[in-house]
């Protein structure tokens, strides 16, 4: 750090410097999503070699359906982890909200939209309640939400009543998880999304250049954009069934053509919350509190308020996950194990590259981690493995990624000061 270059970086960054900067960040323990991406390639290769239908339209469509709930919960978990807190209650909150929806819509005759509005409100209120306990009363979030994990499950059983299950046949609610986008919409989504991504990225760099600030070369931006566009178009092509029978994508006999709605909902949530965390003042404060609560407080940030708001958002997302779950199962049921649902969501966030130690990570890691966990579970199912194998493998993968996170943190410590 002794090179004295007075803002020499004001000239446009060369491609080489961008690559060099990335390498430096990796060495300093800023691994981000790299481990998860590498893991995903390994997992897909392994299962594809064992089961030729693994990457088929039908199975990928299943995968997207399976990660809807975990991914949505994981978005909330990422927000909480960024604050350097934890929320163990999301699984219970999600099944409680699901039970509330079923109770009012099926047994009390509410319309589906008022039912959904109520379940979301219940979720947000629970989050605010827990947030108050941990942010204002200063009980550790681990304990508050552990109490929530137990308590809200109890409330769920009380709401469901003696039968333990309420079937939900309401068509609007059912449609959420069972419909797919028409093929053309899928294409439009992929193309439009990629174009919007490109526009935002290029505009960022053009503005920087115009302001006389160091900017990335357009080639780097173009390559990244091309990669995003290629991946989204490929996913839509597979889900639309256009690649059925082609190369590794296998030949599926029955295909549910189109992008499943839960996948679209999850992607939408990820984009919204990624924007919120990376570009707004609220997001900046979340990272700041996760990095150093004392520095944040001294900077005049309302730390208590932000904590309560974030836990409220996390529980609101748990309610959305509960909605997707209810729709998929066609029921609200006691049979779902909230502890496992919660831990899978936390595992997804951490595997995707969000640090358990606070202040580092991105909402995208929720999606990536959910895809990793979903891919493993799905592959083992397809392979005909017993449930116990799934638990052991998931546990091992989580341990591996948390270890990587811990080592990366040590790297950051060693390189700092």
């Amino acid at each position: 750090m002794s090179t004295v270059a007075p803002h020499a970086g004001r000239s446009p960054l060369s491609g080489l410097r961008v690559v060099g900067g990335t390498w430096t960040r990796l060495r300093q323990g800023e691994l981000g999503q790299l481990p998860a991406l590498l893991g995903l390639v390994a997992i897909w290769s392994y299962f594809q070699l064992r089961q030729p239908t693994y990457l088929s339209a039908r199975n990928v469509s299943n995968l997207v359906l399976q990660i809807g709930v975990t991914g949505t919960l994981a978005v909330g978990i990422v927000l909480v982890l960024l604050l350097s807190e934890i929320d163990l209650s999301v699984g219970s909150v999600s099944i409680l909200c699901s039970a509330v929806l079923a109770q009012v819509v099926v047994n009390q005759g509410w319309s589906w939209y008022w039912g959904i509005a109520l379940m979301l409100a219940v979720g947000a209120a629970i989050g605010a309640f827990q947030g108050f306990w941990l942010a204002a009363v200063r009980v550790p979030s681990f304990v508050v939400t552990l109490a929530g994990l137990l308590g809200w499950q109890g409330v769920q059983q009380w709401v469901l009543g003696t039968t333990g299950t309420i079937n939900v046949n309401e068509p609007h609610i059912g449609a959420i998880a069972t419909t797919t986008l028409p093929a053309a919409w899928g294409w439009a989504l992929a193309a439009g999304g990629s174009a919007a991504y490109a526009a935002v990225r290029i505009q960022d760099q053009v503005r920087r250049r115009r302001a006389g600030l160091p900017a990335k070369p357009l080639v780097v931006v173009a390559l990244r954009t091309a990669l995003v566009a290629a991946i989204s178009l490929l996913v839509v092509a597979v889900l639309n069934g256009d690649l059925n029978g082609v190369w590794v994508f296998g030949r599926a006999i029955y295909i549910n053509r189109g992008v499943p709605t839960p996948g679209v909902i999850l992607l939408g949530l990820v984009i919204v919350f990624a924007w919120l965390t990376s570009r707004t003042q609220l997001g900046r404060y979340v990272y700041a509190i996760g990095g150093s609560p004392e520095a944040a407080r001294r900077a005049g940030i309302n730390v208590t308020g932000i904590r309560i708001a974030v836990f409220s958002l996390c529980a609101l997302l748990a309610a959305v996950a509960g909605l997707i779950q209810t729709s998929r199962l066609g029921a609200a049921s006691q049979a779902i194990e909230p502890g496992q649902v919660t831990l899978e969501a936390i595992a997804a966030a951490v595997i995707g590259g969000t640090s358990l130690f606070g202040g580092r990570g991105s909402v995208w890691s929720a999606l990536l981690g959910a895809v990793v966990i979903g891919s493993v579970a799905n592959g083992l199912d397809l392979d005909g493995q017993q449930p116990y194998v799934k638990l052991i493998v998931e546990g091992a993968i989580l341990l591996l990624f948390v270890t990587i996170d811990a080592f990366a943190r040590r790297g950051r410590r060693a390189s700092g000061t």
Partner: protein, 270 residues
């Protein structure tokens, strides 16, 4: 030159000759106790614009308490604070900030996981809508570069670098630059070089001199007398919660100051 002893019992007797007519910050008869412990007794204190005042004293002399009374972290039991000659109410830290008083604490001031720009604007981001509005990153980045350039902080390669990757001296430079960029009139530095090596200490001392050149009133708390003599125009000594001596930089020897801190010289002076 002999030290100019002050009685410390109110009245500001023996205050040093003023570089300007009205001090930018003046404390009169500040007392503060915590239960049975009298932390400050009738302390007077003043800083002029374009002046570096070192506040020295042994552990428990009341330096930190005095600083906290100025920065709004503590409310004094009695006494008045004047900013530019006008009486000021400082009840919470934001009162001090609004009056142009910025405090740079020894540690915990920066978020390691955020970059330099984010840290410099933390809590005061440019945004059209509070909380949910987009942050105007470009304007903030340009302003950060301007501030660092104006203070000749040239050792930071990129303002988009995370603070975790900066050295101790660079971090302190960022913290000080952040403090002065908000039209500060008075900057309080709490042990600014305590954790730094020789070269980095020089960086920070040079930065303190530039703050003086820019007409700010600077208060430095330090244990390091060598450093105090390098930057301070005046040295104020606290002992057991009272202001016991004031020295001009010129003609004072470190031995005089040490004597005042330990109380040995005080007996002679009286």
């Amino acid at each position: 030159m002999l030290p100019v002893p002050t009685t410390g019992d109110g009245g500001g007797l023996g205050a040093a000759p003023a570089p300007a007519a009205t001090p930018v910050l003046e404390l009169r008869g500040i007392s503060k106790s915590f239960g049975a412990v009298q932390a400050l007794t009738e302390v007077d204190f003043e800083v002029y614009a374009g002046e570096v005042v070192a506040l020295v004293g042994d552990n428990g002399a009341g330096k930190s308490t005095l600083i906290k009374c100025i920065s709004g972290a503590h409310l004094p039991d009695s006494g008045t604070i004047l900013v530019d000659g006008a009486e000021a109410r400082i009840h919470v830290p934001s009162d001090a900030t609004r009056l142009g008083i910025e405090t740079v604490y020894q540690d915990l001031a920066l978020c390691d996981n955020l970059d330099v720009v984010a840290n410099m604007f933390l809590g005061r981001e440019h945004t059209p809508v509070p909380l949910l509005g987009p942050i105007a990153e470009l304007a903030m980045e340009k302003r950060s570069l301007e501030v660092l350039d104006a203070l000749h902080v040239t050792t930071i390669p990129s303002v988009r670098q995370r603070v975790v990757s900066l050295s101790g001296g660079q971090r302190q430079s960022v913290a000080i630059s952040r403090a002065v960029m908000w039209e500060a009139k008075i900057v309080i530095l709490d042990e600014p070089t305590a954790a730094l090596g020789v070269a980095q200490t020089e960086q920070v001392l040079a930065l303190i001199r530039r703050l003086r050149e820019q007409g700010l009133g600077v208060i430095v708390i330090s244990h390091n007398l060598h450093e105090v003599f390098e930057v301070a125009d005046r040295i104020v000594v606290l002992r057991l919660g009272r202001r016991v001596a004031t020295f001009q930089h010129d003609g004072t020897s470190p031995e005089d100051v040490v004597a005042a801190i330990t109380g040995a010289r005080l007996q002679v002076a009286r």
